[in-house]
Subunit: 232 residues, 2 copies
DNA sequence: AGGAAATCTTAAGATTTTAATAAGCAAAAA
DNA sequence: TTTTTGCTTATTAAAATCTTAAGATTTCCT
């Protein structure tokens, strides 16, 4: 799981801590000791998560959080020394996604960071710690980076939608995926269709294309009354 | 913010608490006192969030959490009486999105519930507590529920993509939206295009359709070198 | 076997993307 | 100031892709 993380911390304690605990992770850390520089960083870097201390020399953490929320979607974790509930509630209501009071166990912060990143990143049901970018098994190779697909050495030219459907099916291989679930994963939550055989049509096209490169095994299996499935 | 919430709680304390604090919200609560019934509920109801106590008479909260993660994406908040860090870390690593130790302030739980729901729901940059489903100003009406659009009483028939673009522009009205940002909001993170004038073409179609119903005001303004914008 | 429900097939029509070309803007050069 | 230059945005139209809809087929159940 690669991620760009912004840490704004007056005392530098958290930054040091992260240095120690996140060395093995593929994280890029942007450290700042005041709000002004942090805001600049928010503008220019593509961040995946922010850890903000409430107490800062210039701007307070709440304001930074609000600024982030005006333009960005990435998760924000707030930190405070004060054990006052009202601060927690202010922070969370303002747009923070998590709120931790000092002192805390270093591993708890790490776990919360990962939990937030996991939610922020898509397709993470199976292996939460490593985002899968390539799937390969029994002659089939799917590369999320290039959106390319190979079946038994032969390249299949799939359309974006076809690729996405096959990706979801493969990342759930061995399990049945309902067509509603497929639709949800591929098209997102924004649409709502009732009589939806769109998925079906795409499945058909997929089968057609896959059939050119393989004979007997019907890769995408229909599980009657439930959905579709690819064998393990 | 309407949501279906599952609460699994041995002692019934949290359920009562939620009754008191969430009466005014548009929440549907599914309460269970053991794991078995809860699992059944997870199968059959479309849930938006789960609050799980770790200690349960039959199945423990961790197992329920894992079961949820096998099939679903909605956020999970774990509760425990034990103040042991290792539990927190287990929970968060296992797929929980938040973890609270008892005793906690009722409002903190409520705030965390809302924070999780907010993240789970899209398009929440401006008003975190109330998801905007309709935008209306100066003769233009956009209804997210029906995907319908009216300009000066006349209905515009927009394609899904056109509607989404207009929605993003309108929900950021007064501010400039770069075409990269537009692309990101409308198409999602899954795609990556470099030479991308697709957005441009859609903007053109939008302008064409909007021009039929209004004369002088060029609704979608080009801000040279930056992006597009709709006046407030 | 026969009916009902689920899935498949097909093809037309709608939408989206691509690609090539034109037009517009802003700063540097004349 | 005017012209040139390089870059950004606009306009088209064709090609690719997606969705819809209706009828055909398969599977399940009694």
């Amino acid at each position: 799981m690669a991620a760009n993380i912004l840490i704004v911390d007056d005392e530098q304690a958290i930054a040091d801590l992260v240095d120690v605990y996140l060395t093995n992770e593929n994280f890029t850390i942007f450290k700042f000791y005041n709000g002004r520089d942090a805001l600049d960083c928010i503008e220019h870097e593509k961040l995946d998560l922010a850890i903000l201390d409430v107490m800062l020399p210039d701007i307070d953490g709440f304001s930074i959080c609000r600024k982030i929320r005006e333009k960005h979607h990435f998760p924000v974790i707030m930190l405070t020394a004060k054990e006052e509930e009202i601060d927690k509630i202010t922070g969370l209501t303002l747009g923070a996604d998590d709120y931790i009071t000092k002192p805390f166990h270093p591993l708890e912060l790490m776990a919360r960071v990962k939990a937030q990143l996991r939610r922020f990143t898509k397709y993470n049901t199976t292996d939460p710690d490593q985002e899968e970018r390539v799937i390969a098994f029994s002659g089939l190779v799917l590369d999320m980076n290039t959106h390319e697909c190979t079946l038994n050495e032969k390249k299949l030219s799939l359309t974006p939608t076809e690729f996405s459907i096959l990706w979801v099916l493969c990342s759930n291989r061995g399990r049945v995926v309902s067509s509603e679930q497929l639709f949800h994963e591929v098209w997102g939550d924004k649409y709502f269709t009732n009589s939806n055989n769109t998925v079906m049509v795409h499945i058909r096209h997929l089968r057609e294309k896959m059939h050119d490169s393989t004979e007997h095994p019907k890769y995408i299996k229909t599980v009657w009354g439930v959905g579709y499935k690819i064998e393990k």
